[in-house]
């Protein structure tokens, strides 16, 4: 397969003799990248976050070209090392996209590589903003049905044996906007409430043995120190299984918007219950029935009028991030379809790709490491013949669970609120190469 594909791949341009002696002329429109769909004129006129970002890319590119006209980067000394917190190249412009109310900011999944989400691009979701917390003042109290109620500072927690784990966190409401509409244009806008980080902290099982769990304690109330004082009930089995209190994200302190100075990590479970700014764990014999597990984050099935409660696990899902909505392919030829797959239940077993609107499916390759409860990167070589088509991905996890179609979900769950929505995403490739979100119900 690879061999036949390889023979047809033509990417980049042969180096002409003249290129070696004179500066390159300005790139043609098609080489501005496959990402902006709009014309140069539209882009420069701005409007909308995506086009504004694209315009920045273009302008930056021109600046670079101008610099190179005068002198190549290799002709002058470069920047010396500084004692600072490094930043990315000024030519890199991918940013989170905040919703108008400022309660969410979505990860630009279509601009990222591999499986780790840079901390500064990890999605945000909060219910009364990001609290400003002085770590020296912050405490975690564990009380309730325990033998020894305890109080821990951040420094206390750091002295315990630690654990690091690469884990995806996905908001329960992620992708809900794609259930019955295709108006969200990009992978970011439609599915950007999922991210993967390496989290480091202390196992809850360690802390539980410190405080001594009393017989009959079946639930733990986890409470945040934000204005919403966000609270959820967690069953003790999960606490003792793989839960931990994290103080670090991707090798450094957790970012404020992700729970600084400490948060709960419940691998594979909906984002909301991974309580940020964690300040209190209270053990009890019953669930506490907070707002976030009754009035919200319960799954109303409109077919019956009844709601699923305590549906914590995020089930298998996948998303093609390239090519994806609002991009434009410059012409027929080779493209590596790539994207992410994840499941809160078990490791991803396979990802299948369809390039004909779901009629035929073929296996994508999975990039190692394939970690449980983490984003997995998949890839699939594709030769686009230039005709209109629809591309889709479908994930299966090691329990045998297969990501459902949107039609299946509507038939089984009706049209209620769309928590835990994992229907297959369809991207349409038009003959002109433009990629758009389409609803196949």
């Amino acid at each position: 397969m690879d061999r036949t594909h390889r023979s047809e791949i033509l990417i980049g341009e042969p180096v002409a003799e003249g290129d070696l002696v004179r500066p390159p002329e300005e790139d043609c429109a098609c080489k501005e990248g496959m990402f902006p769909k709009a014309s140069r004129r539209q882009i420069l006129r701005g409007g909308g976050l995506v086009t504004a970002a694209a315009a920045t890319v273009l302008l930056a590119k021109r600046t670079l070209a101008a610099d190179e006209d005068m002198a190549g980067s290799w002709t002058v000394p470069g920047q010396l090392a500084k004692s600072d917190y490094g930043t990315r190249s000024k030519f890199e412009t991918a940013v989170r996209q905040a919703t108008p109310a400022g309660t969410d900011a979505l990860t630009p999944l279509q601009s990222l590589w591999g499986i780790i989400t840079p901390s500064g691009l990890h999605f945000e979701r909060h219910h009364n903003g990001v609290p400003a917390i002085d770590p020296a003042q912050h405490r975690l109290i564990i009380h309730g049905m325990v033998d020894r109620p305890m109080k821990y500072s951040v420094e206390d927690l750091k002295r315990f044996p630690s654990v690091s784990r690469i884990v995806f966190i996905e908001c329960s409401g992620n992708s809900g906007g794609t259930a019955r509409s295709a108006t969200l244009k990009t992978a970011q806008a439609a599915h950007g409430l999922t991210s993967t980080s390496e989290w480091t902290g202390v196992r809850l099982s360690t802390l539980m043995s410190e405080v001594g769990v009393k017989d009959g304690a079946g639930w733990v109330l986890a409470e945040g120190a934000d204005g919403a004082m966000l609270s959820r009930s967690v069953p003790i089995d999960k606490i003792m299984d793989d839960a931990f209190v994290a103080y670090a994200q991707n090798g450094e302190a957790i970012r404020p918007e992700n729970g600084y100075p400490m948060r709960l990590i419940l691998p594979g479970w909906e984002g909301n219950i991974n309580v940020k700014w964690l300040r209190r764990l209270k053990l009890g014999d019953k669930p506490f029935m907070t707002r976030e597990e009754t009035g919200k984050y319960t799954d109303l099935i409109t077919l019956t009028g009844k709601a699923r409660q305590f549906s914590w696990v995020m089930e298998a899902k996948s998303l093609i991030t390239f090519p994806s909505g609002d991009m434009r392919l410059p012409g027929k030829g080779f493209y590596e379809i790539t994207g992410l797959a994840w499941s809160g239940r078990a490791p991803i077993e396979r990802v299948e790709i369809s390039t004909d609107g779901g009629k035929n499916w073929a296996l994508a390759s999975l990039q190692e490491p394939v970690l449980p409860k983490a984003h997995v990167r998949f890839r699939y070589p594709w030769h686009w013949d230039g005709s209109e088509t629809i591309i889709e991905s479908r994930a299966t996890d090691q329990t045998g669970y297969v990501q459902p179609t949107k039609a299946f979900l509507t038939a089984n769950e009706g049209v209620g609120p769309t928590y835990h929505y994992n229907g297959i995403q369809s991207w349409k490739i038009s003959a002109d190469g433009s990629v758009s979100n389409v609803l196949i119900a």
Partner: protein, 197 residues
């Protein structure tokens, strides 16, 4: 700390010499318990232990009425939730506005489902718990127990769930029967069917 640290080093040295399974050997260097953190005092706990359960555990002394709640609601809540508890969508308000609190009964099995405290919330305790700790949005944790009892009495009275003359307190509140009390069931996923189409 030093003694346990030394234990780790000792175990490591022994295991390195004895077998390649040094990592598992180090496990024995981890103490059963650790002298980190401090005992939480009753005052520490009382300062934060404000949550309320459906059985009433956590409800403080105090009481409230519909009439008092009506006044507090007009001052503290109506800007976002509407004068008639109908909810407001306005991008200029925090969170884009507050949701409707009443109405929606009989809609949950329709495509025009309307989720409110009245139509959907299974427990009155959740209303108390949430208002006490998270409302009003611009000044969370600022309301006193009597005020919260009154707001619960007002909202549930407007929802025709309790009598407008009822007094809300630690005894009466857990007895409130919410209309959708039996509208929930535990997670039953994954579906017991093959999910291929």
């Amino acid at each position: 700390m030093f003694s346990s640290h030394r234990g780790i080093l000792l175990a490591t040295a022994l295991m390195l010499g004895a077998s390649p399974l040094a990592v598992s050997g180090q496990e024995s260097g981890y103490a059963g318990t650790y002298p980190f953190g401090t005992a939480a005092t009753q005052a520490d706990i009382d300062a934060w232990n404000k949550d309320v359960r459906p059985d009433g555990q956590g409800l403080p002394p105090g009481s409230g009425t519909f009439e008092k709640g009506q006044k507090i609601y007009a001052e503290q809540c109506a800007t976002c939730h509407g004068e008639n508890l109908e909810g407001i969508r306005d991008p200029n308000l925090p969170q884009g506005g507050g949701p409707a609190l009443i109405g929606g009964r009989g809609t949950l099995n329709t495509s025009k489902f309307k989720i409110t405290v009245e139509s959907y919330w299974p427990y009155a305790s959740t209303l108390y718990d949430y208002i006490l700790r998270a409302m009003p949005y611009t000044a969370p944790s600022s309301l006193k127990p009597d005020e919260v009892y009154s707001l619960v009495g007002f909202i549930l009275g407007r929802a025709n769930i309790i009598d407008k003359k009822a007094t809300m307190d630690a005894k009466s509140l857990p007895k409130v029967e919410m209309p959708n009390r039996n509208g929930f069931y535990p997670d039953n996923r994954p579906y017991p069917v093959k999910r291929y189409d």
